[in-house]
Amino acid sequence: MNWNLFVTELVAGIAHGSVYALIALGYSMVYGILKLLNFAHGDIYMVGSFIGFGIITVFGGAESLTVSVWVLLFVMFFCAMLGGGLLGVMIERFAYRRLRNAPRIAPLITALGVSFFLENAAQLVLGAQYQSYDSYGWHNGELWVKGFTLPAGVHVGIAQVIVVVGTIVLVVGLTLFVRNTQLGKAMRATSFDREAAAMMGIDVDRVIVATFFIGSALAGAAGVFNGLAYQQVWPYMGFVAGLYAFIAAVVGGIGNLPGAVLGGLLIGLAQSFSIGYISSQFSDAVVFAILIAVMLVRPSGLLGRAAVSKV
C-alpha cells in the first residue's frame, strides 16, 4: 500500500473538511432557526475569500508583503469575518425578513436570487478570472516551508496547520458560546420553537440577526482558510462549496452543530480519497452517493434526532 498517497489525501481531506465544516455550521445554524436553506451562504464564503485577497493586495501583494505574516493573517481574518457577518445580516434584513411567514418556497427562491445576484455582482466588480492568494510566495514561503513531517514522508505546512487549528478554535468557541451565554441560550430556544421563545420574552429578531452574523462570519473565515490552503478565489467558488457544505450539514443532521463538523470532515475526506483513489471527475458522485445513503438510512442525519411534526 502506498502510505504516502494515503497520508497526503488524509491531510488534504482534513483541511478541506475543516473548510466545509465551517460553512456547514453557518448553514446549520440558520436552518435551525429559520428553517431556511440559505443558498447565499456559499457566496458569503466567496466574499470572505475575496476580502482576504483584497487585504493581501493592500499590504503589497503576495510577493512583496510589507507586514509580517501573522499581522496579515490577523487583519485578514478580522476583516473577512466582519465583512461576511455584516453581509449576512444585510441579506437577512433586506431579503428574508419580510418572508418569514410566507409559504416555504418563497424564501427559498429569494435565496436563489440572492446567491445569483452576489455571484454576478462579484463577477462585475472583480472580474471573472481566477485570483490567487499565492501563500507559497509570502516571505519566501514561510507558511509552507516551515511545518513538520508525518510518518510516511508527507510534509505538512504551517498553512494547513492554521486551517485545522483555526477551525478547532472557532468550533470550540462557538460551542461554548451557544452553550453558556445568554444569547446562545436564546438561540437554542428560538431554534427549538420560535413562537414559544417569543412568548417567553426573547427578542427573536435580535436572535436571528445574531445567528446570521455568527454563521456568516464563520463562512468568511472559511473563505480565508480556503485561500490559504488552496490559493484560488473566483466569483463562482461559493456555489459548489456551499453545495458540499450543505450536504455536510444534512449528513451530520441539520440544525445540529457537532453534526455539521462531523459531516464536513466526512465529506472532505470522502472527496479527497475519491480524488486520490477513484477518479477526480467522479468525486462528486461519491459525495452524492453518501448523501443518498445517509438520507435513506437515517433521514435525520448521523447525529440528528428524528423530527416530530405536531399538527
Partner: protein, 490 residues
C-alpha cells in the same frame, strides 16, 4: 411575532379564493375600460391561449428577419420549460433545482441518437418518444430517493443532481465503467456534440435552412401541452397537486397518495423539459454541457419567468417567458438597453410616486443635481467627464452633459455599483420626505453606474437583473403578475 395582522403580505384570515376573486370583481373600474375588462374576464382562458397561438404563428409570416425568429424560438423553448416547471413547482409545490439537467439530458439524448457521434441517425419520430420516455424515467429516478423528504431536502438533492449531470457530461470524454471497460468518449467532454441532425421524418428533412420550421414545431408542442395542462389543471390530479402544495399533511390525511402525486409531478415536469431539449438540440445543431450548468443561469431564468408570471398560472407561463426573454434579449444591445433602462425607471417613478408634486420635485431635483455634479466634477477633475455615453443621438449627447463619464470608469464604476446597492437598500428603510430626498442622489448614482459599468458588460448585467427580479418579486408580489394571491382559512 414581528409581523402582526397589519402586515399587507400576510394572508388574510377568513378570505378564501372565491371571496378574494369576488372582491376583485367588485372593485372594478367604471367607464369604457371597466366594460372592456368585464367582457375580457368573461372569455374562457383557452380563448386567450388560442389568441396567443395565432399571434405567435403570424410572427414568422410577417418578418423574414432570422434574428427575430431565433428569439421567438428561444422564447417558445423557455415557455415549454416554464410549463414543465409549473407542474413541479407551481402545482405540486416541489422545489426542483435540477430541472435544467433534464433539459440537458434530453438534448444530449437527441444528439447521441441523431448525429455522426455514434453513427446513429434515427428517424425523429423514433428519437423524440425514446428521449422523452428516458427523461421521464430519469425524473422518476431522481424523485424516488427523495420522495420521503420534505421540500428542502428535495431541493438540495435535485440541485446536486443538476451539478452531477454537468460534471459527468463535461468530463465524459474519457468514460469507463469503474475501470472495467476501456476509456470511451461518450459525451464529447467540453467540446460537446456537434453536427447534430435536423429533424427528419421518413427521410424528409425539415428546418434545414432556418429556424422557421423549429419555431412552428415548438409552437405546436407548446399549444398542445398548454391545452392539455388546462385540462389537467381542473382534473382530479390537478386539484390533488394543488392541495399537496397548500398543505401536504392535510392532503395525506384526506387520503391522497402523496408520494405518487409527487413522483408524477416530477416525471411530468421532466418529460416536458425533455421534449423542449430535443427541439433545442436539433435547432442549434450542437450541444455543450456548460449551457445547462447553474452558472449559465438557465435554471434561474426559467424560475424568474415562472415567478414573474405567477407560479401555478398557465397564462403566467406565457407572459413570464415572453417578458423575461425579450427583456434579456434587448439587454444584449447597449443602445436598446439604455432606452429600456430609462423607460423602466421613468415608468416605475410614475407608477409608484404619489402625489404628483413629489414626482415633479424628484425629477427636477435629479436633473438639477446631475448638472451640479457634472459642473463640480468638470471643474475639479477634468478627466472625469471625458468618456462617452453608450447610446448615440439626442439622448446620448444630452447625457454627456449631465452624467459624469470618466475616461477610465472601471474602478470608480465598481465602487459606485456597491454604493448603489447599499443606497437602494437604505432607501427601502426610509419613509416620507427623507426617502424622496435620498432618492435624488440614488437615481443619479443609478444612471452613473448604468452608463459607466453595467452597459459595458451586458452578459453580466442580464444575470444580475435576473437575480434582482427574483428577490424583488418575492418580497413585493410573491404571486407574480397573473397568479392568485395566497389565502389562508383559519
Amino acid at each position: 411575532m414581528s409581523t402582526g395582522p397589519t402586515d399587507p403580505n400576510a394572508p388574510r384570515v377568513g378570505v378564501d379564493e372565491w371571496v378574494a376573486s369576488h372582491e376583485q370583481r367588485r372593485t372594478r373600474r367604471a367607464g369604457v375600460l371597466g366594460v372592456l375588462e368585464r367582457e375580457l374576464t368573461r372569455l374562457p382562458h383557452p380563448a386567450f391561449y388560442l389568441a396567443f397561438g395565432i399571434a405567435a404563428a403570424i410572427v414568422p409570416a410577417v418578418t423574414s428577419d432570422g434574428y427575430v425568429i431565433k428569439v421567438g424560438l428561444d422564447t417558445l423553448l423557455y415557455m415549454l420549460l416554464a410549463l414543465g416547471l409549473n407542474i413541479t413547482v407551481g402545482y405540486a409545490g416541489l422545489l426542483d433545482l435540477g430541472y435544467a439537467a433534464f433539459y440537458g439530458f434530453a438534448a444530449y439524448g437527441y444528439a447521441m441518437l441523431a448525429s455522426p457521434k455514434f453513427g446513429l441517425h434515427w428517424d425523429t419520430l423514433a428519437v423524440i418518444p425514446v428521449v422523452v420516455a428516458a427523461t421521464v424515467l430519469l425524473g422518476f429516478l431522481v424523485a424516488l430517493p427523495s420522495r420521503r423528504l420534505v421540500g428542502d431536502y428535495l431541493a438540495i438533492v435535485t440541485l446536486f443532481f443538476g451539478e452531477l449531470f454537468y460534471t459527468v457530461y463535461q468530463n465524459g470524454e474519457h468514460m469507463s465503467l469503474l475501470g472495467f471497460t476501456g476509456s470511451r468518449d461518450v459525451t464529447g467532454g467540453p467540446n460537446g456534440i456537434p453536427n447534430i441532425d435536423q429533424f427528419n421524418i421518413f427521410g424528409a428533412r425539415i428546418g434545414e435552412l432556418n429556424y422557421k420550421a423549429y419555431f412552428y414545431v415548438a409552437l405546436v408542442f407548446f399549444m398542445v401541452l398548454l391545452f392539455a395542462m388546462y385540462l389537467v389543471d381542473r382534473s382530479r390530479t390537478g386539484r390533488a397537486w394543488k392541495s399537496l402544495r397548500e398543505d401536504p399533511l392535510a392532503a395525506e390525511l384526506m387520503g391522497m397518495p402523496v408520494n405518487r402525486l409527487k413522483l408524477i409531478a416530477f416525471a411530468c415536469g421532466a418529460g416536458i423539459a425533455g421534449l423542449a431539449g430535443t427541439v433545442f438540440a436539433a435547432a442549434n445543431t450542437a450541444v455543450f454541457a456548460t449551457e445547462f450548468d447553474f452558472t449559465s443561469g438557465l435554471l434561474i431564468i426559467v424560475y424568474a419567468m415562472l415567478i414573474l408570471g405567477g407560479a401555478g398560472s398557465l397564462g403566467g407561463v406565457i407572459l413570464g417567458a415572453l417578458v423575461v426573454n425579450v427583456s434579456l434579449e434587448v439587454l444584449r444591445d447597449p443602445g436598446h438597453a439604455t432606452w429600456v433602462f430609462y423607460t423602466l425607471i421613468a415608468a416605475t417613478l410614475v407608477a409608484r410616486m404619489r402625489p404628483w408634486r413629489w414626482l415633479v420635485a424628484v425629477i427636477a431635483g435629479t436633473v438639477g443635481f446631475g448638472f451640479a455634479v457634472h459642473a463640480i466634477v468638470s471643474a475639479v477633475w477634468p478627466r472625469g467627464v471625458h468618456g462617452e455615453a453608450a447610446v448615440g443621438g439626442v439622448l446620448g449627447s444630452g447625457l454627456g452633459h449631465w452624467v459624469v463619464l470618466p475616461s477610465n470608469p472601471m474602478t470608480i464604476g465598481n465602487v459606485a455599483f456597491i454604493c448603489l446597492v447599499l443606497a437602494v437598500l437604505v432607501l427601502t428603510l426610509l419613509r416620507g420626505w427623507v426617502q424622496k430626498l435620498a432618492m435624488i442622489p440614488t437615481l443619479y448614482l443609478a444612471v452613473f453606474v448604468w452608463e459607466n459599468r453595467l452597459v459595458v458588460e451586458p452578459s453580466v448585467t442580464r444575470l444580475i437583473l435576473v437575480g434582482v427580479i427574483l428577490i424583488v418579486l418575492m418580497n413585493a408580489r410573491p404571486q407574480g403578475l397573473l397568479g392568485t394571491s395566497r389565502v389562508e382559512i383559519v
